[in-house]
Symmetry: C2
Subunit: 345 residues, 2 copies
DNA sequence: TAGGGCTATGTTACCGGTCACATCGGAGAA
DNA sequence: TTCTCCGATGTGACCGGTAACATAGCCCTA
């Protein structure tokens, strides 16, 4: 009763299985009358074609695999959504693997499982991934189109998509400088994330451009990107540089955490201390004050990744790996105040 | 060169393909020496077994399908992450379909595509889904284990997982009442979402329990769950009931939007007006004031959904659809103030 | 020492589609 | 009228695994 096959339908419609195949694939050269008969049989038997059998036979799975650090993180969720939408437009399905914190070799396991599934493309969004010797990822790249998202791994043959973190960091810091800030602290994400390092580089570039001497005590790294870390980092920062007038936090959550600390110390934002974030998560526009931040277009990142794979699959020739960097624009809101010329807090 | 099959490996190792199958599946009764030989051939040919062929032959895909409204929404992203983690634990892979706003029949298309893929279970998290006559979803339920998340559709044979929205709404409102609030407004989500209606019911229950008369002008529905809507709803609410002392917003974003409006009107939170939200999104704990809210355990919802499918698949007998309601606890923070006895703002 | 039973391995069919090619019948051309 | 060609349909192999059964040694026991 359950699981009619193409041959069951054929028998019922009194045609060959091949004719059924023609009908369900919309091929020409089938009489209207025959088609009708077949379709009726399909309905009566509640026949649903098997993508599995089709894949085996046609050697196409129409499936893309995506491995991410954690889908529940807004950042990756957006990328997944973007990739999914774009993939779907092109007739692909998406299978996802979300790597739980803690398990070491999970990326590799996932990768292998996806290869077994014969995905036709791979999106790897695992920022901290380091390449081992003889890494299975290299194998994967050799087999199927692969896009590395937000990774600093340099893998020949793979496409790379990333945010221009350095420029983003530069703009954020540069904006603070333009508002006459001179003593600018920064709260960074974990420095084993390439994005954190890049943003820090941007911060330093901007200070250098402005002729402001680098000061190590103004750089406060965190172990994660969360609120609590921002809170504590701000405390350390205030301890080591009580007179700073601005903070560039590498994520909105870090920024919000920092703001909480500032408030707790009786400092007003932005009147006493200005704050710039990074991400532009949905709440950033409604917190008090609305957060000035650098917007990460993660959805576009996901879309682009899927599009690259689609294009590559379509052209089917092996191109060299391309490199795409999406601009992360500064969104100016209300958490930065202009400092009166020369005044130091 | 690319795509060695089990027979290629067999030839190379000078055994039958069946022996290769035994080795890669870790079967007993293979000599160490033979196994070694096979494994070497596997390595040399870079053989990766085809899950597609395996699925066709074994009639198992080890795949779960999940259809959601929008993965980039924190709410669903959490559920996806939870489901994914649990599925993985049980050896399942997850394919996801995220329904873009606007396209009407997408759920059905996705459903059909997933049936074609022969998913072994289906998680449908599409709150506003309405059942059409002769709905394909009913077919799906008849074929494979299905879990409906946050839906009020009553489908025999399907399992249901949901948050106890009514109780959540009741607790939130009841808490305000306990703090001596009497004039309590509510900002609801779109009322075609079952969760919005349930929370509203909870709100009404609580008022009734306290002997407070219902007042239609205190209920302000929104077209979505976002900040901007919260802002505007609060304005309408203040216009129609300027003396209210508390607001129960059905999402944290609505609550934050409302707080923004209150601030703009010079009203302090919680001193002048208390606010309770719903969701407990990550920022809720760090905004100013920290938001008192009802926590939705979405991750657990996803986990439970996946677990139910796993159990059902394992027992393989058709149980009646079960119904699971997860408690959404009130998280008390700082956005609610106690009203002095009898005082009315 | 023959037969039973176990282990290691091979053989063949099958899962449910697609593909390449064969076949058949009728319309149009010579 | 006969030949040709083409549209409609059928046949059998194949995709890459798994399952069930067959077979060949080997050890042990009676």
């Amino acid at each position: 009763m359950k699981g009619a096959t193409i041959r069951d339908v054929a028998r019922r419609a009194r045609v060959s299985h091949q004719t059924v195949s023609r009908v369900i694939n919309g091929h020409e050269s089938v009489t209207d009358e025959t088609r009708e008969r077949v379709l009726r049989a399909v309905r009566e038997l509640e026949y649903v074609p098997s993508a599995v059998a089709r894949s085996l036979s046609s050697q196409r799975t129409h499936t893309l695999g995506m491995v991410t650090t954690d889908v529940s993180d807004h950042f990756f969720a957006e990328a997944v959504a973007g990739a999914e939408a774009e993939a779907r437009k092109r007739g692909y399905f998406m299978i996802i693997g979300s790597i739980e914190e803690g398990s070491e070799d999970d990326e590799r396991t996932y990768l292998h499982l996806m290869l077994e599934r014969r995905v036709e493309g791979l999106i790897v969004a695992v920022p901290r991934l380091r390449l081992a010797e003889d890494d299975p990822l290299a194998d994967a790249v050799a087999r199927i189109p692969t896009v590395l998202v937000a990774s600093d791994i340099d893998l020949a043959g793979a496409d790379h998509v990333d945010i221009d973190n350095r420029r983003g960091g530069h703009e954020a810091t540069g904006y603070l400088v333009a508002q006459n800030h001179r003593l600018i602290g920064t709260i960074t994400g974990p420095l084993d994330w390439p994005s954190a390092r890049a943003r820090l580089d941007g911060y330093r570039d901007a200070l250098k451009d402005a002729g402001i001497a680098a000061d190590r005590t103004l750089v406060e790294p965190c172990v994660d990107w969360g609120l609590e870390s921002g809170r504590r980092a701000a405390e350390r920062l205030l301890a080591s540089a009580p007179k700073l007038s601005a903070i560039f936090a590498q994520s909105d959550l870090l920024a919000l955490g920092a703001i909480a600390t500032l408030r707790a110390r009786g400092l007003r934002v932005p009147d006493d201390v200005s704050v710039v974030g990074f991400d532009d998560i949905p709440v950033s526009s409604v917190v008090d004050p609305p957060l000035t931040t650098v917007r990460q277009p993660m959805r576009e990142v996901g879309e682009l990744a899927a599009r690259l794979i689609g294009d590559r699959a379509a052209s089917s020739r092996k191109t060299k790996g391309s490199r795409h960097t999406l601009r992360a624009p500064l969104i100016i809101r209300g958490s930065v105040a202009r400092l009166d010329g020369g005044r130091i807090r």
